[in-house]
Amino acid sequence: MIALDPSTKKRPEFINVRVRRQDAPGKAPYWELHKIKYEPEMNVISVLQRIAAQSTNRDGKKVTPVAWDCGCLEEVCGSCTMVINGRVRQSCSALVDRLLADNADEIVLEPMSKFPVVRDLIVDRARLFQGLERVKAWVPVDSYFNMGPGERILRDDQERNYPLSQCMSCGCCVEACPQYNKIELTQKSGESDEEFEAREKAAYSEAFVGPHAISQAMLFNNHPTGKVLAGERLDALEGPGGLASCGNAQNCVAVCPKEIPLTTSIARAGRATTLHAIKTWFEK
């Protein structure tokens, strides 16, 4: 079932939207109800835009606009991830008609639960990007000068890598992962911003790196020049917060909006680390 038949006029006049709000980190979250006029072909972004424009809650009381993060609105940039009616997804591709078909009473919007809330629906996803640093997710080329073409790449390799390189670091996979737990530290009094950042980074680098980062490690290990760092990437995946932390729940692959074969990457990483460990043992 794709959409409501345009001839059936059973669409509501108004939509109820329940938003889990939080004014700042460390503040208590609270629910706020909004009521906006139904329009055809809305998505959650346009719902939030209407809420911002009217800036009153359902009782007509003036409230601050709900804060949220968005960018391309085409499900490519990864900005607008949130939990919508209990399911993590991009809010740009969350269509109101379909949401109402599942739950006619209201739309419930919540921030992702695995990251510190910055405000309302905005969370701090720095840890996602740090995961990419941990596995050195890049090709270590000599220079950015003109050195001629890269190595030839077989079509099979390109077709294996292309889906992995569509990962937009949106965070759906880690939100759904039971092994990826929220880390939220608070700045101590007298602690400088730099000291706090360093402490935060250290905490992140102990914890589970996440399926997205494991998949990126496999992407670069399958690149003719990128594989120069294969050993270092596998070392990282063997270390704390690496592959051993994966509980194989397979939730990640189920929620990935880009249908990236994350569990396949994890399985490949498992085999590669085992081989790597044996090889390292023999080389001792």
Partner: protein
């Protein structure tokens, strides 16, 4: 005074393809970069580009292609409004750009043998376009993002994500000494002193309310440079793509291939016919492209398709819906399996975002603002070979000393209309090419980032803090809502300054925009807090849309001609009407005379300066460097094109002969 030992410090504003390419190259050359971006750089709008990236290549060379032809396609496609030296340099760098991106790990599609595969794009005869599936922009951006992350780990880059660039810091000589920016989370306003500053902040589509661009593309960063004295060029040239999916929140692109595979564009003959599209019989349908252009039908050129769809909705009032402009793009007559095989990818986009299966129901589409060809005016130094002088400090410097503009937010490369798959190239090229220019500029300065007087930084921060505080508390009692003003501005701009432009409408819009500008300056905010206040960030960007909107409208008003993306029917060059050969020849001669006279007057870049005392854009015009390829008429679809072309070629040959026999007799400009 000798430079201190501290490394060159550059602030790069914007983390799309251009900003990341620049950051990557600058760090390699030894600079420390502060990278400022509204969003985590991996989420920049460059991710949305789909088609590919152009360069002449080993395969096309064997068909007679070369860099010169790429240059020619670009300037012809741009209706000769491009300065040719930068385009030449870009075309000659293009193969190197692709090779570098290949080395950086971009998963370009491959041939069976493992070479980079290519496809053909509009405006060229050769398969020049390298692509990575339908997400080439995303793949290129990620490769650069990865390199910048690598440099970050090395300690060469400090990323400041979720920071809003508020303006350049200039010393008493006018030189740019850094930037002021605001943390969008803590709302802290801070100065970033620098040896040089690069602005790479993309297009300004949000001036039109909704476009195919991301929400970051407000143009406000470019506007903040403009309001501080940087010139802004060719603002009136905004590319409008014929087919996009109108959405309540944004417009999403629908590829031309839908029409290529047999899609038919139509509207009901009765305005806003309440029946569902499939209940409307053939006789009640108006296939306006097929009726008006029997020869080309639904495959008329892009600009004509854009104008006709616009005309049918705006002037004929035949939009499918009464409160929103759109026409049907109908594929339902084509068998499902064929659609899935040929158009699966783009149909899925429609399905995902519209919740309607376009195999069963016609798509509703409308043209959408897509790309800013104009942008911050930027200088260049021409080399002896007619390209750019590598490493010359003035390459891509704006009219503010030490402030550079690259990527979509500068005005070079595309002229009056953009050739498909050239934008990704121009962004990466300018980022890479300007690295050495910026380093040379910094090295030649007597004082650098460490010598910027604290008082200068403090006063720059204070000015921005005052603006911020005033927005939060200064407009007591005002009822102006920034989101609603933005809607009004967008609707107005879309109505008068997109596809078809009329002087009376432009004049009226200029007055209306003045009023909206005044109202926008006294908005009242629903959120006056000091933590992640998106309201105040938006209000600032809204206010800063107006200077660009004003430059755009005035530029369009003063340009009485049709050129590329700028189309005024009142000044259209007519087709030839006579059947008599002699008379037809005379008409063709007259046509060419008129074309030359028009070029004399309008083959110029519009250069706007912001006048702070009048709050208006003052316009001047600069000659276009056409030293490499003389301008020629674009005659596609015109009756009598053959005769005109013949006359034109005869004249060109005569001129060439004359300039050989006696130098200086006839200029090529």
């Amino acid at each position: 005074m000798a430079q201190s030992n501290s490394p060159t410090r550059v602030v790069v504003v914007g983390g799309g393809l251009a900003g990341l390419a620049s950051t990557m190259k600058l760090t390699e050359l030894g600079a420390q970069v502060d990278l400022i971006s509204l969003t985590p750089v991996k989420r920049s709008h460059s991710v949305c580009a789909q088609g590919g990236i152009n360069s002449c290549n080993d395969a096309t060379r064997q068909l007679g292609d070369d860099e010169w032809k790429h240059l020619d396609d670009t300037v012809y496609g741009g209706d000769f409004l491009n300065h040719q030296p930068p385009v030449k340099e870009m075309a000659f760098w293009a193969p190197k750009v692709i090779e570098l991106m290949d080395r950086l790990g971009v998963p370009f599609n491959r041939t069976g043998e493992g070479f980079i595969d290519r496809r053909r794009f509009g405006g060229t005869l050769y398969k020049r376009t390298a692509f990575a599936g339908a997400t080439t922009g995303q793949q290129l951006l990620y490769a650069l993002d990865e390199q910048v992350r690598r440099q970050e780990v090395e300690g060469n880059v400090n990323k400041h994500e979720f920071w809003d660039f508020l303006g350049p810091i200039q010393d008493e000589t006018g030189r740019c000494r850094g930037v002021v920016a605001q943390d969008m989370v803590s709302m802290e306003i801070r100065a970033f002193p620098a040896d040089a500053v690069v602005v790479a902040t993309g297009g300004c589509g949000l001036i039109y309310g909704r476009s195919t661009m991301s929400v970051f593309c407000t143009g406000s960063a470019a506007s903040r440079c403009f309001q501080n004295g940087a010139k802004y060029a060719n603002a009136e040239f905004i590319q409008v793509h014929p087919t996009a999916i109108p959405g309540a929140d944004k417009l999403r692109l629908m590829s031309e291939s839908a029409r290529g595979e047999g899609g038919r564009v139509w509207v009901p003959r009765t305005p806003q016919d309440p029946r569902g599209p499939r209940d409307i019989p053939e006789a009640d349908r108006y296939y306006f492209l097929e009726e008006r252009y029997p020869e080309y039908g639904n495959l008329v050129p892009r600009d004509i398709a854009t104008r006709e769809i616009f005309d049918i909705c705006v002037n004929e009032g035949l939009s499918v819906e009464d409160d929103r402009m759109c026409v049907y793009l109908d594929l339902t007559h084509i068998p499902r399996h064929e659609l899935d095989r040929k158009l699966g990818g783009i149909l899925e986009i429609y399905e995902k975002f519209q919740g309607v299966d376009p195999r069963d129901e016609p798509m509703k589409i409308f043209p959408a603002v897509h790309y800013s060809m104009g942008g911050l005016w930027a200088d260049y130094v021409k080399s002896d070979e007619g390209g750019l002088e590598a490493g010359a400090p003035r390459n891509h410097m704006t009219s503010i000393d030490g402030l550079y503009a690259i990527g979509e937010c500068d005005y070079h490369y595309h002229g009056a209309n953009r050739l498909g798959a050239n934008s990704l190239l121009s962004c990466i090229f300018t980022g890479l090419f300007t690295g050495s220019s910026i380093m040379n500029y910094s090295a030649s300065q007597e004082s650098g980032a460490t010598d910027v007087p604290q008082s200068l930084l403090d006063s720059a921060v204070k000015a921005q803090q005052d603006r911020h505080d005033h927005l939060l508390n200064g407009n007591v009692g005002s009822e102006e809502n920034p989101y609603l003003i933005h809607q009004e501005l967008g609707d107005l701009m879309t109505r008068v300054a997109t596809v078809v432009r009329r002087n009376d409408q432009l004049e009226e819009a200029i007055q209306k925009v003045d009023e909206l500008h005044e109202r926008a300056m006294k908005v009242s905010l629903a959120d006056t807090g000091s933590w992640t206040n998106q309201n105040v960030i938006f209000a600032k960007s809204l206010q800063d849309m107006f200077p660009l909107a004003k430059a755009l409208l005035k530029g369009a008003l003063q340009r009485d001609e049709c050129r590329g993306a700028h189309y005024k029917p009142d000044f259209k060059k007519p087709s030839l009407t006579s059947d008599d050969p002699v008379e037809r020849r005379r008409q063709a001669e007259a046509w060419c005379d008129a074309f030359e006279a028009n070029n004399e007057k309008y083959l110029k870049s519009t250069v706007a300066t912001w006048n702070t005392s009048t709050n208006q854009a003052d316009l001047a015009y600069e000659d276009v460097d056409t030293s490499l390829i003389p301008p020629r008429p674009r005659l596609y679809g015109l009756v009598g094109a053959e005769e005109i072309e013949q006359v034109w070629n005869e004249r060109a040959a005569e001129k060439a002969a004359q300039s050989k026999s006696g130098p200086g007799l006839v200029g090529t400009n």
